[in-house]
């Protein structure tokens, strides 16, 4: 029976070609759309975690209230002790201290007078401890465009675009003018070790990466840091686990009456990405629902057109004594084969294209020139397990559903009028 139906589908292409094309196109679009959105949002979360929030972040409560303003006068003091406590209490996590700062980068001429100057934002991370996780987290070595990585205190990396704007090169001196933790003017000389491409427009336009010990000295922040970031060892954000760690830390260390006591926040809370993360969870359901509804209507229509074309055939089959239910079942079975075949083609093509988009990405840098979002300039898709199911199952379901609705017409055929029809 199955063999017979498959032969029928293969020999009568008008019965299979259009539905297969329809199903495979729909599945293809669903897979690409899902993988692309998945990739963009995963990348956004990843960039945010790497540069801004970690998977969890510890700050003072006062700092947390104004964290987007980099209020280093409200930073966490006694950072070494807090880091050790975190390492003892949550040994599976990777902990690293950071300072974000802003100011001006002043470029001196030969006489030490200002040659050029530009506003700068900076990220101070642990560059020189042997166990520093920052090299992997920030992929520093891979980001170098010119020069080399910093090898000693006093050396910084600067955004390549920013370096071009200020007309400076590796080996030049740059003076940071900023504010100390106590509000005094901070002036500190650095040597440019190399230029980097952060891959985030907001940073490429005007950011530097410095060693945290240098910035602690420059901003009078000894044993102090704005933020302590925690990362899961596999570098994959786990919302449930992060929330659990944050809750346990806050129960133990947060003092509501002391605004300088520490507070831990998770990535979605700190970054405002909670809606995006909820969107990832519901995105699959949304895509599948839209896909099944739209495809069922298309395939229902296609089934009706097929039925009209096969009006005579079904009539003959009824006339020779095949019962309506059997005919209906064979139509459903046919649609199941079409659904499977179309879904396989669509999923294969969709994951293939998505994989290429995962490798090469699409560079939207020219659109992000003025963006201040911590999002990569290159949008990439992400092929995940979900990519293989997001189109495949709905592809089959919608084909069968479409055929089921269209096939109900068989039951409305009156046997008495069949012979009259067949005479025509």
């Amino acid at each position: 029976m199955i063999k017979f139906l498959i032969k029928g589908l293969l020999r009568d292409r008008s019965r299979s070609l259009f539905p297969v094309l329809t199903v495979s196109s729909g599945v293809f679009l669903a897979v690409v759309l899902y993988s692309f959105m998945n990739g963009v949002i995963a990348d956004m979360i990843n960039s945010t975690a790497r540069y801004q929030t970690g998977h969890v972040k510890v700050m003072t409560q006062a700092y947390a209230e104004e964290s987007n303003q980099m209020p280093n006068d409200l930073a966490l003091t006694g950072i070494n002790e807090i880091t050790q406590t975190l390492k003892d209490n949550y040994p599976d996590m990777i902990w690293t201290a950071r300072i974000k700062f802003g100011g001006l980068l002043d470029i001196p001429d030969e006489k030490g007078e200002t040659k050029d100057q530009g506003p700068v934002t900076g990220l101070a991370v642990d560059l020189f401890s042997p166990s520093s996780p920052e090299w992997d987290l920030l992929r520093i070595e891979k980001s170098i465009i010119r020069g080399r990585i910093p090898v000693e205190r006093g050396e910084i990396l600067i955004g390549d675009e920013f370096a071009g704007k200020l007309d400076i090169a590796p080996g030049d001196t740059a003076t940071l003018i900023s504010s100390t933790m106590f509000g005094s003017m901070a002036i500190y000389n650095f040597k440019i070790a190399g230029t980097v491409r952060f891959g985030i427009s907001a940073m490429d336009r005007g950011a530097i990466l410095a060693d945290i010990a240098d910035i602690q000295e420059a901003l009078d922040m000894q044993d102090t840091a704005g933020e302590l970031l925690g990362y899961f060892p596999d570098n994959i954000y786990n919302d449930e686990k992060a929330a659990e760690i944050a809750a346990s830390f806050n129960r133990q260390f947060k003092d509501p009456d002391d605004r300088f006591s520490p507070i831990m926040r998770t990535l979605p809370v700190e970054s405002g990405l909670s809606d995006y993360i909820a969107m990832i969870d519901s995105m699959g359901v949304i895509i599948v629902s839209i896909f099944i509804a739209a495809m069922s209507i298309v395939l229902w229509n296609s089934g009706l057109m097929g039925s009209l074309r096969r009006y005579g055939e079904i009539g003959v089959r009824l006339a020779v004594g095949e019962n309506k239910t059997h005919i209906y079942k064979t139509l459903i079975l046919e649609s199941l084969f079409i659904g499977i075949f179309g879904s396989v083609i669509g999923t294969a093509a969709g994951t293939g294209v998505s994989y290429l988009m995962q490798i090469y990405g699409i560079d939207y840098g020219y659109l992000m020139k003025n963006s201040s979002m911590m999002i990569s300039n290159v949008y990439r898709a992400k092929v995940s397990t979900g990519s293989f199911f997001i189109g495949f199952i709905p592809g089959i379901v919608s084909t069968v559903l479409g055929a089921s609705i269209a096939g109900t017409g068989i039951y409305r055929r009156q046997t008495a009028s069949l012979f009259k029809e067949l005479e025509v």
Binding site: D73, F182, I187, N189, D220
Partner: protein, 246 residues
């Protein structure tokens, strides 16, 4: 040089005018006249009550007329040796640890001086009230046991740092005992309260005041004059960029 505007505000000769009802313009003129001295050398102390506690900054300032000044920070150790030079409307700072002289301009002028409630812009302001403001007497009252005029001042030009001021002027000493500085919108930005006045070298001088940036958290900045001497013979080289590096 650090607190030019405030120091000038705080220093007033004790001319005891006998006029009973001077006009607002005359009062402003007298306040201005009383601030003028050819030169002065001041050692001052600033106690900054910030969000994370307090710290004290000491400095020595050499001032020539009202336009030029040179300040060297004496304490705390981290700031020791930092110097600032103001020549007319230009301001430079020198950091000994980097051996760099940086010109402070543009939005940097709005930054706080040493974390205090004063900004560099406050320091750069023309101290002559009569040239910047038109005033009217809003009333009289008593402050710190002294009879005062309460005056509302309105800026003559749009680009004045504070569009409106309210001042409490000692009727006898022509010394401002309290001041409120407002934005164009009418929002109160800063407030100065004088706590102690002394008679030094024939002048009434406010030796202790609190300067409060009301938009900033904290309890303001206490300004105290430890010593002051007028009409000192200050060599010209002090007011040069070369002296920053010395």
């Amino acid at each position: 040089m650090k607190y030019i505007a405030l120091v000038i505000l705080m220093i007033t000769p004790a001319f005891l005018f006998s006029q009973n009802n001077p006009s607002p313009a005359e009062i402003l003129k007298k306040i201005d006249d009383n601030t003028i001295s050819d030169s002065k050398v001041v050692i001052s102390r600033m106690v900054i009550h910030g969000r994370r506690g307090e710290r004290t900054v000491r400095a020595k300032t050499w001032q020539r007329n009202t336009s030029d000044s040179f300040t060297e920070y004496l304490d705390p150790p981290r700031e020791k040796g930092t110097k600032m030079l103001k020549l007319g409307d230009q301001l430079w700072t020198y950091s000994p640890s980097t051996d760099r002289t940086i010109m402070i301009s543009g939005h940097m002028l709005r930054q706080s001086v040493m974390g205090s409630d004063l900004s560099y812009e406050d320091m750069m302001e023309d101290p002559f009230l009569s040239s910047l403001y038109e005033g009217e007497i809003a009333g009289s009252g008593e402050l710190l046991g002294r009879q005062v005029w309460i005056m509302d001042l309105t800026a003559k030009k749009d680009d004045t740092a504070y569009a409106r001021r309210k001042i409490w002027v000692d009727k006898e000493r022509y010394l401002i005992l309290k001041e409120e500085l407002y934005a164009k919108s009418g929002k109160l930005l800063k407030q100065v309260d004088i706590h102690e006045v002394k008679f030094i070298e024939g002048r009434w001088i406010a030796v202790s005041a609190t300067y409060k940036d009301v938009l900033k958290e904290g309890d303001g900045t206490e300004m105290m004059i430890e010593s002051i001497s007028f009409d000192e013979n200050i060599p010209d080289y002090i007011f040069s960029k070369a002296s920053l590096r010395k």
